[in-house]
């Protein structure tokens, strides 16, 4: 396999991973918002969210493996595992490693959600809001052509989509119809000692 082909594959897979990850985040938010319509049941959003998340891992693996095995890099596998261990572009590559590891944690905990329990799963899942921006910064900060028009456009689309979804979520409030009544009742019967 040609080195240059590896190099282009790394970049292509990286760009695709960012698009997929952004789509996964948007779908996750749409799930929480209980979006549905005729012909689009809620489990479709959830199923797509899960399938695309697994797909993101596949393309990230492609991104990382092609980068590491590229003989020009001399980076070694350590860079893929330990953040900020790279001699080159320490910060930007380190962010990429962190984003990947957070995502891996999110996916792995989701696969064993039944064992670790809903609360632990939720806490880890909130890391999505850390993983995604770190990945964006990694993509924007690294690469000689990071600010080339096509990548910039791609990143802009992803950022707008996710930020839009986040704003929508914040404005929509809690979609659990019981949330308010439940918390006010609990406040009424809460006899915990004030600490």
């Amino acid at each position: 396999m040609s080195n240059t082909l590896l190099w282009y594959t790394t970049r292509g897979a990286g760009a695709v991973s960012l698009v997929l990850l952004s789509a996964v985040v948007v779908l996750g938010i749409l799930s929480v918002l209980r979006v549905q319509s005729a012909g689009w049941p809620r489990f479709l959003t959830a199923g797509l969210h899960r399938n695309l998340a697994l797909m993101t891992l596949v393309f990230l693996a492609l991104h990382i493996v092609t980068a590491v095995v590229d003989p020009f890099t001399h980076l070694g596998w350590l860079t893929a595992v330990v953040p900020f261990s790279s001699y080159y572009r320490t910060l930007w590559l380190g962010l990429g490693t962190i984003a990947f590891e957070l995502l891996l944690a999110i996916v792995l905990t989701s696969l064993v959600r039944g064992f670790i329990g809903q609360l632990a799963w939720r806490v880890v899942h909130w890391l999505a809001y850390a993983s995604w921006p770190i990945a964006v910064v990694h993509g924007a900060g690294t690469g000689t052509d990071a600010w080339s028009a096509w990548l910039f456009t791609l990143q802009a689309i992803c950022v707008v989509a996710v930020l839009g979804a986040i704003v929508y979520r914040l404005m929509a409030g809690n979609r659990d119809p019981l949330a308010n009544a439940r918390s006010s009742f609990q406040a009424a019967v809460d006899r915990r000692e004030p600490k």
Binding site: G12, L18, Y88
Partner: protein, 102 residues
């Protein structure tokens, strides 16, 4: 409030949505694969100076994508922006390979 749909209707809707989910997932996977080729090729064209020979390597996929006009305009834009980084290109090619475009 009343559920007019029979169980049969809801089973049909479920099956249709399951098929849609499979189609969307397959479509996403294919698009992603094509995307890797496309973005790889685009990046090959947009990186100035380095690896003129590499363009030929990627040309099979690149030729198909180069027909899009946006690619050619982005080439101009990036080459303008990248001019300052050009001297580093030869040494950075290895680094770029790791970090490139995620």
């Amino acid at each position: 409030m009343e559920t007019k749909d029979t169980t049969q209707d809801r089973v049909r809707a479920r099956d249709a949505a399951m098929r849609l989910l499979n189609r969307l997932t397959t479509g996403a996977a294919l698009s992603a694969l094509i995307g890797v080729g496309l973005f790889g090729a685009v990046s090959a064209y947009t990186i100035p100076g380095t690896k003129t020979s590499s363009t030929a390597t990627a040309s099979t996929s690149a030729t198909s994508s180069s027909s899009t006009s946006s690619t050619s305009t982005s080439t101009d834009a990036s080459s303008g922006l990248q001019s300052s980084t050009t001297p580093v290109a030869s040494s950075s090619s290895s680094g770029v390979a790791v970090s490139g475009g995620s």
